[in-house]
Amino acid sequence: MPPPQSDAATDADLIARWQGGDEDAATALVTRHGRALARFLAASGAFESDLDDLVQDTFLRAFRSVAGFRGQCQFRTWLLTIGGNVLKDAGRRAARTKVVPLDEWLQAAGGTPHDDAVASETEGRLTRALRELPRLQREVFLLRAQQGMEYDDIASALGTTPGAARVHYHHAVKRLKEQLQ
């Protein structure tokens, strides 16, 4: 019988248990990281109605390739970068299916005018400004500013150097400030 799950169990423990066939460990991983992943995806331009599917797709893709995760960064950072890829692929599929350019899909993904009105003005403007950023700058900014990740972690997850990640972040902040002014 597998040991009971607890908040004290590390991600590495849960991954090992899940790989051993413990489905409760998979559930614990989703419960622990799912909401942060959803915030990241929503801020990256995902429809709220698609969030459930996107979160599931991200975890499944992560589970399939978990053998390639060597603890080079936080599991959550790694998971969020996979989420970015899943979102990009979903955008491409939507663009092919609906014959809508990817940029338009991303612009439309922010929700209804009502949602925009509900959100604060700053958040609404930030959401729109984020969509104008190159993907790498947007992801580095969100991983750093929204998720509070360290540059070393971000760099490992994105396959770049901490210095380059820092540069991407500063470029993103500069452009966002320009857009928000």
């Binding site: 489905e23 998979a26 559930t27 989703v30 419960t31 799912g34 909401r35 942060a36 959803a38 915030r39 990241f40 995806l41 929503a42 801020a43 709220e48 969030l51 459930d52 979160v55 599931q56 975890f59 499944l60 589970f63 936080q74 959550r76 950072t77 604060s120 700053t122 958040e123 930030l126 959401t127 984020l130 900014f141 969100l142 750093r144 500013a145 929204q146 998720q147 509070g148 990740m149 360290e150 972690d153 820092r166 972040y169 500063h170 902040v173 966002l176 400030k177 928000l180």
Partner: protein, 143 residues
Amino acid sequence: MTDDIGNEDLEDGELIAAARRLGVGAAERLDLDRTARGVVARWREERARVRPFYARPASLRIAAALILLGAGIATWRAGINRPEAVAVVVPTDAGLEGLSADQLQALLPAVDEPAAAENMAYDAGLEGLSPDELRSVLTSMGS
């Protein structure tokens, strides 16, 4: 991961605060239990669909190719090792020219079975018989 980002990179507090609020409402409305159940169920289905290696199409194709190759080699080797056809020597001094058509026809099955004919000839000791005796033997075989 750290929640207290306080270095020079994040000096714009308003920008950072707004970024941290992004997606919070949508994420809170997500039913995580349902999402987790969905992940586990889909993962279970996915693993059930994974066939053992010997049942995968590529493995089956390789196995079929190996079987065909083996059968081809076996056939080729059987052809190489096949013994030469045994020449049937019909004795010309048996006085067959004197036999009737019916008698010759009766003799043909024995000629078609060379080994049996040879054995029969050896067992019967026909080499010591005279042409008349041979003719009488053949006549008796034809009757």
